[in-house]
């Protein structure tokens, strides 16, 4: 029973963190946001390192990694508040790899893996116009609704860029124009894997936020001492650590169930989305609080984390919906009850 990372996984984690820390300094992040730009050079570098097709089988030109490893990469990218269409690419790859036909996989996965092709994924709910990350620059769009997913190529969908709270990521409203092509495989399982990766990014956001808060609490002095020595501040940080660790446990477990085809996959993923989704904005909110006045400035990174975390939570797991879904998966059904008598 080993729930700890293997040495190999720890190396992946360390390498990823180090690379991103070097490439994405605070100033570079701010500059890219101002310019409304992504870091294309970094994307090319990650493509070469095999990150984009990380979970695709080695025989098909991918990294041959498990979801657990992809989760580590996604966490690192969350921590770095990476200005890249990585999540959109990863989601597209996961859906094609998990539920696409051989023809669909052959046509798109190589390009997605080497960065020459861009994909986007939209969740379709009746009556709601969907928002998809990086749809405006996508060559293909996969629309997922329940247990069905269809793939649309250029000309079969229209993406209108919209500004969201997440100022460092490009979102677009998508309108489906064509018939598209159905993905014949297990869409629910593949969509669950996408959820785990999104939850992993939120966990990374929370990690960065906690680091910002703790680092500041150690050096900021007021009343003649570091503010981290005041329990109101240190206990807030401990609360944040609790939220982060909960997210991490939930995401790791969800990835584990996905990698092993466990029957507990759906509840595990729902739980990861709920817990990490919350941590993804609550811990950054805590970072703003601990940082005081400067935490509330544009230049301070905390609000970028808060923005991304909040949008992730709103899009991937609207709290009441996911919680109800988790309830349905883990509690006896409401139908089994008698008349309500409160």
């Amino acid at each position: 029973m080993n729930f700890d990372l293997t040495d190999e996984q720890k190396t992946i984690q360390q390498t990823a963190n180090q690379l991103l820390r070097e490439r994405l300094t605070d100033q570079r992040l701010r500059d890219l946001v101002e310019a409304g730009a992504y870091d294309d050079d970094l994307e090319a570098e990650l493509a070469e390192l095999g990150w984009l097709g990380a979970t695709v089988a080695a025989e098909e030109g991918g990294g041959g990694m498990g979801l657990t490893e992809l989760v580590l990469l996604a966490e690192a990218l969350g921590e770095a508040i990476a200005p890249l269409p990585f999540l959109a690419t990863a989601a597209t790859v996961l859906l094609l790899d998990g539920a696409g036909s051989a023809a669909q996989r052959d046509r798109w996965i190589p390009g997605l893996s080497d960065g020459s092709v861009h994909g986007s994924v939209a969740s379709t709910q009746p009556g709601v116009q969907s928002l998809a990350a990086d749809a405006d620059s996508a060559d293909l769009l996969i629309a997922v609704g329940g247990s069905e997913a269809r793939i649309y190529v250029a000309g079969e969908f229209e993406a209108t860029p919209v500004e969201t709270l997440d100022v460092g990521r490009r979102y677009a409203r998508v309108e489906i124009l064509g018939e598209g092509e159905i993905l014949p495989g297990d869409v629910e399982a593949a969509w669950a894997r996408v959820g785990v990766v999104a939850a992993a990014e939120s966990t990374g956001l929370a990690q960065r936020a906690l680091d910002l808060a703790v680092d500041y609490a150690k050096v900021r002095h007021q009343f003649g001492r570091p503010i981290g020595s005041f329990q109101a501040v240190s206990h807030r940080c401990v609360e944040m650590l609790g939220e982060l660790e909960g997210a991490r446990s939930a995401v790791r477990y969800a990835a584990w169930t996905a990698d092993r085809g466990s029957v507990d996959l759906q509840p595990a993923v729902a739980m990861a989305e709920i817990v990490a989704g919350e941590a993804g904005w609550k811990v950054p909110a805590g970072a703003i609080q601990v940082s005081g006045g400067i935490g509330f400035t544009w230049e301070h990174l905390a609000h970028f984390l808060l923005r991304r975390g909040r949008v992730n939570a709103s899009l991937r797991c609207t709290h009441p919906t996911e919680l109800a879904r988790f309830a349905d998966l883990t509690l006896p059904s409401a139908d089994e009850s008698q008349e309500v008598s409160l």
Binding site: F3, K218, S229, H235, S249, R252, L323, A327, L331
Partner: protein, 379 residues
């Protein structure tokens, strides 16, 4: 939530399941004294079968098993609805501390009776003026020929009235810094000069005691570890207290939650959206406790020692246990306030969870300082 076991671990679990099925001690009696006797007999039976003190070295009566096997045991026991052993203080705190800091003579004398539940222990640490600030304790031991003479007062001493021995923390050097002048003693509860007064808890029962020590004599052989080195040994005791809580408690929280879900189902409350949402939230907390416990176990199994993360685990367990007990009261309405109901007792009892074994405030300080590296509260 099953995590994969090795072949050896699977064999261990299967053998254990069979044994538990064949040797189930039956339900715990309601009467407290009968329950105590029931637990004692059960622990003796566990010991005969080699299941008490699993992780202890073989030479001292254990199986030399890993923390994973201990966790498997705890899980199977919880699943089978087995009562906890009689003396957790002895089994999980005193025993491991004697193993770590004791002489061979002390191990020879004390470990076997702990395993077989034929001797019982209490912990003499807290004092009226020294709770969270334990190092400021005043119970003093003065050197006499062949040993020590101890006088002072302890409080919150659980089960002292049924204990044969006490692991006692006392001051042996008044001039040293507070935590450098303490010694851990093994005190015979039959010694003259010990007076016990039961304390009544908010729940109505009297598990606690005040313990008055008037020139109690302890021989040199009763010193555990180094003279003036008691703080280190005391920390061992406290760390084991926390580590033990983390994993086992997650199983209990799940069990109590399952019982609450069943109560809600019986009352037709599961159709209510608010109730479902709250139960789902509690379900998530219960599962997170288990997952975090498993991660800690995996780290330990890979060579780590139980560390300050135990404090974070205790913090979260406390919150979950209190939230669960409170929500049970919320949904069960007028039924739950009847004195005969278990939920009412659990609600009052749960308020003690955030105080015993180190208050939540102290646990938060430990996590802040030793996990996050934040500056100490008092510079």
């Amino acid at each position: 939530m099953e995590l994969e076991l090795t072949e050896d671990q699977t064999r261990f679990r299967e053998a254990l399941r069979v044994w538990l099925q064949q040797n189930h001690p039956g339900a715990l009696p309601v009467d407290r004294d009968e329950a105590w006797a029931h637990r004692q007999r059960w622990q003796a039976r566990l010991d005969e079968a080699g299941y008490a003190g699993l992780t202890w070295p073989v030479e001292w009566g254990g199986r030399g098993a890993t923390t994973v096997e201990q966790a498997i045991f705890n899980e199977e026991a919880a699943r089978a609805g087995i009562p906890r052993p009689a003396d957790l203080v002895a089994l999980h705190m005193v025993g491991p501390t004697i193993l770590r800091h004791g002489t061979d003579e002390q191990k020879e004398r004390f470990l076997r009776p702990i395993l077989s539940a034929s001797e019982h222990w209490c912990q003499g640490f807290s004092e009226p003026d020294a709770g969270s600030d334990l190092a400021s304790l005043k119970t003093a031991a003065t050197r006499v020929d062949g040993g020590w003479r101890v006088s002072g007062q302890k409080i919150w001493t659980s089960m002292a009235h049924v204990s044969d021995w006490c692991v006692l923390l006392a001051r042996t050097d008044r001039d040293a810094a507070p935590h450098r002048g303490l010694t851990l003693f093994l005190m015979d509860m039959k010694s003259p000069g010990i007076e016990l007064r039961p304390l009544r808890q908010a729940t109505g029962d009297s598990e606690f005691n005040e313990m008055f020590l008037d020139a109690v004599e302890i021989p040199d052989a009763g010193v555990l570890g180094e003279v003036d080195g008691g703080w280190q040994a005391a920390l061992t005791v406290l760390m084991h207290e926390r580590a033990g809580l983390a994993f086992t408690s997650s199983l209990e929280v799940q069990r109590e939650l399952n019982a609450l879900i069943e109560s809600c189902r019986e009352r037709g409350l599961l159709a209510d959206g608010y109730v479902r949402a709250r139960l789902a939230g509690l379900q998530i907390e219960a599962r997170l406790l288990r997952l975090t416990g498993m991660r800690a176990l995996s780290r330990e199994a890979n060579g780590g020692l139980p560390g300050p993360e135990g404090s974070l685990a205790k913090l979260r367990w406390t919150k979950a246990a209190q939230a669960l007990a409170a929500f049970a009261m919320d949904v069960l309405g007028t039924d739950a306030v009847l004195d005969s109901r278990a939920e009412g007792y659990a609600f009052i009892r749960s308020r003690g969870n955030s105080i015993e074994g180190g208050t939540s405030e102290i646990q938060a300080n430990i996590v802040a300082e030793r996990v996050l590296g934040l500056p100490r509260v008092t510079a």
